[in-house]
Amino acid sequence: MDGPAIVARLTERFGPAVRETHAHRGDHTVVVDRAALADLLRLCRDDPALRFDLLMDLTAVDYLKYPGREDAPRFEVVYHLYSVPENHRLRVKVRVDEDDAVVPTAVPLWPIANWFEREVWDMFGIRFDGHPDLRRLLMYEEFVGHPLRKDYPVSKRQPLIGPRT
C-alpha cells in the first residue's frame, strides 16, 4: 500500500481521532489523539493490509522553545513503523502535555518498545501506562531530572556516585 492509502485506511477507521496528517518527501505521518493511540497501533500491527510488524523507533520531541508552538502541548511521542511483508512505512505521533505526560505502552504489541519507552522516560520524563519495568536506561538511577528536555542545562553536573556496595 502506498502512503496515502495507509493514511486513508486509518482515517476511515478512526475518523476524528486522527488530528492531522502530512507527508514530506514520501514519508507519511499521522497525528492521533492519545485516547485512540493503543487501538490505532494495534490496528497497524494486526490489520492484514497494513501489517506493521516492526517498530523501528519510539522517541519523543520537546517543543518547549519551538517558535510557533507555544500553546501546543509540549511533548510529542513519535512511533516509526515499518512493514516487512508490505515494505511500507508510517510515522505516528501523539501530543502530550507536560503535566499529563502519560501515554499507553506499546510493549504488548512490540516487545522492543520496552527499552525505547525506558529511554523516553529517562530522557524526557514521559510515563508509559502499563509498562512492566519503567526505569532509567541510559542514566544512573540516582540521577535527578530528565536530560533531553530543553530546560535541562547541557553541562549541568551532578554529584558523582560511588560503587553501590
Binding site: L138, M139, P147, V154, S155, I161, P163
Partner: protein, 154 residues
Amino acid sequence: MGLGLGDFVTTKLDEAIGWARKYSIFQYPFVTACCGMEYMSVACSHYDIDRFGAGLPRFSPRQADVLFVVGTISHKMAPVLRRIYDQMTEPKWVVAFGVCTCTGGFYDNYATVQGIDTIVPVDVYIPGCPPRPESVLDGLMKLQEKIAVGRQRY
C-alpha cells in the same frame, strides 16, 4: 652495616626492582569506546607494544598492574571503573588514554565524567582523539620512567 652500606643496597635493589617492573607491564585495557581501536593498533604488530614488555593484557584486575582507561567513561560506568581500580593490587598505575578520559573530551554534558582523575588517581595522561599510536608509545615510555623511579617501602 655502617657507612651507608645499607642505603646503597636498598637503592640498588630499588633500581633493580624498578627496572624489572617497567619492562613487564601487565595491562588491564579498560576499553569502552573508539580509543579502543587505537589501543588495538598499538598492541598489534606495526606499532608493537610488546617490544616494551607491555604486550600481555590481563583481563582480570587481580592480575594486572597498569589500568589503561581507554575511551569515554559515562556516569553510569564510573562506579564500575572505581571498583575495578580498587580490586587491583599494589603497585598499580593508571593511564588515561584519550582525551575523554583526560578531561571529558568534547563531551561536555550531563552523561560523561569530565576526566577520570575525579574518580581514580592518574599517572600518565595521553591526550588525543584518538591519540596516534606514537603518542601512546610516548606515554608508555613516560609511564616506564615513572615506574622505574618508584621506591619501595622497606
